[in-house]
């Protein structure tokens, strides 16, 4: 049975689109894009990360158009992205160059540079602040002025947040995690070639970082609840800005001759996972594996979950679905997952009629058999 094209409903569809706009503006007020950029940082970060496109303004417009629905906003961003030319590839970005604004470790209390909390919801009581009902821009400006006036000159702590040492380097120096050389193999790009299994590490990381926050978190939760063998700890979590540069298109690749284009905020996590390694004469030693997570913006749960899944998928003999590359990587993309599920509401008249015919035929045959037996 093939698909059959049908016509009709044009007027109804046009009116439905008008109705969608009506729902957005019916209370006579509209959200300014700038207000979304200023006040919806978490949602903007999530939408940029899941759409794999860094632009706060575009994300804000998409959020406005989608009335705050992240899956629709991500769809809009991905669709717009597909209309734009990819003009350049960046020089390799190194997280060592991050201008850190938050950095913690759950593994070590005393880390070089210290535990820097930055901005976090970890220590708030999760009580709704009803004062926000009446908050005005004037209130915000006054608060901001007072906050910024508290530091007018350099403080006594001279820690350089541009050059914070990595916790991993500390462990590598102690021999607790294995040393590895830089791997300069050019990455594969899942936006250009279809995913095949087993996927390369570059493909796995790219799919994970653009995965839907909820899906990535849910799979990682399954891993640590029992559908996996991981007992991870956050070795280091850092948030900050990474400079992005491109090589001079009409020159060589001298780093000082590159074009700086701006900075992107990311959350980066290195998860430490203890593993037992069998050495010579059956001697067993515990070492640490690392799971790597990173995503656009401040989205700590997603970055941690990505780190867990990165390690979980790094096996040739999956015992659990959460270790199966196809199971995880094919089901965490926001546009693919929500697109496929929601397409079920589109007309399936012909396929459903075909199924209905089969059901009727089966029943008719059974009734005829029964009648034959009763004769």
């Amino acid at each position: 049975m093939g698909y059959v094209a049908v016509k009709g409903g044009t007027q109804a569809i046009e009116e439905s689109i008008q109705r969608l706009k009506y729902e957005r503006v019916k209370k006579g007020k509209v959200m300014e894009v700038d207000s979304i950029v200023c006040g919806m940082r978490g949602l903007i970060d999530q939408v940029m990360s899941e759409s794999s496109l860094y632009s706060e303004t575009l994300a804000a417009i998409a959020i406005k158009q989608a009335e705050g629905n992240p899956e629709e906003a991500v769809f809009l961003m991905r669709a717009y992205r597909s209309t734009l030319p990819r003009k350049h590839y960046s020089r390799t970005v190194l997280s060592d160059d991050m201008r850190v604004e938050r950095r913690i470790s759950a593994s070590f209390k005393d880390i070089p540079g210290g535990q820097i909390l930055g901005a976090t919801t970890d220590f708030i009581h999760r009580l709704i602040d009803f004062d926000l009902m009446d908050e005005t821009e004037e209130d915000a400006k006054q608060w901001l002025h007072a906050f910024e006036c508290q530091v007018e000159e350099e403080g006594p702590d001279k820690t350089d947040l541009n050059k914070l040492p990595k916790v991993l380097d500390y462990l590598r120096a102690e021999g607790l995690i294995s040393e590895c050389q830089e791997d300069d193999e050019e990455p594969e790009d899942v936006t250009r070639t279809s995913l095949n299994f087993p996927a390369s590490r570059s493909e796995r990381l790219q799919v994970l970082t653009r995965g839907q926050t909820g899906a990535v978190t849910a799979f990682a939760y399954a891993v640590i609840r029992g559908y996996g063998q991981l007992h991870p700890t956050v070795g280091e979590l850092r948030i900050g800005d990474l400079p992005v540069c491109i090589d001079n298109p009409i020159g060589d690749s001298d780093p000082d001759d590159a074009y700086y284009i701006g900075e992107i905020k990311v959350t980066e996590v290195e998860m430490l996972i203890p593993v037992t390694i069998e050495k010579e004469h059956g001697r067993k030693e515990i070492e640490f594996d690392i799971g790597y997570g990173i995503c656009y913006g401040q989205n700590e749960t997603k970055a941690i979950a990505m780190g867990i899944l990165d390690n979980s998928l790094n096996t040739d003999h999956p015992e659990f679905p959460s270790q199966d590359q196809e199971f995880v990587l094919f089901h965490i993309d926001s546009v693919e997952a929500t697109g496929f599920v929601s397409h079920l509401k589109m007309p399936h008249y012909v396929t459903f009629q075909s199924k209905l015919d089969s059901v009727r035929k089966t029943r008719r045959n059974r009734n005829e058999e029964r009648e034959g037996e009763n004769r």
Binding site: E101, D189, I264
Partner: protein, 142 residues
């Protein structure tokens, strides 16, 4: 001053600086726009720290512009939708490539702006460092 440092100061500093420097050029020279400011993408390549391998983190929305001065091409490229800034960056880039005499005095301006950026960042850093945890070992009750 080398390009990376220059573009970093022009993008992160006060907006009136690239505007002023570019104006000095397009008021005195013929500037042909080869590519109007237009939007595009830069794919970010990142080195992860677990296996030190490379992968693509995602794309960055950018504005790019190309101009020509005295048969020399200048490129302006910046994150976000910034048509004016992309044009000014392209003009400044072409001026440096063409070694126009005006550029000789720009280093001083850029170094002063770099210092202003550094000062601002140091204050921001001091404020962030106020969230550094000062651990105290708890008394065991004896």
């Amino acid at each position: 001053m080398q390009r990376k440092k220059r573009t970093e100061i022009l993008i992160n500093g006060a907006r009136e600086i690239p505007a002023r420097l570019a104006e000095q050029i397009y008021e005195r020279y013929e500037v042909n726009t080869i590519e109007q400011p237009n939007n595009g993408l830069v794919m970010t390549k990142l080195r992860e720290t677990a296996k030190k391998s490379l992968f693509y983190l995602g794309e960055v929305f950018i504005t790019e512009c190309k101009v020509q001065i005295n048969n020399v091409i200048g490129l302006g490229i910046v994150k976000g939708h910034e048509p004016e800034l992309a044009y000014q960056l392209a003009v400044i880039d072409a001026a440096y490539r063409a070694e126009l005499k005006e550029t000789a005095s720009w280093s001083e301006v850029l170094i002063a702006e770099e210092e202003a950026i550094r000062r601002k960042r140091t204050l921001r850093q001091s404020k962030i460092l106020q969230t550094k945890v000062n651990f105290e070992t708890m008394d065991d009750g004896e």
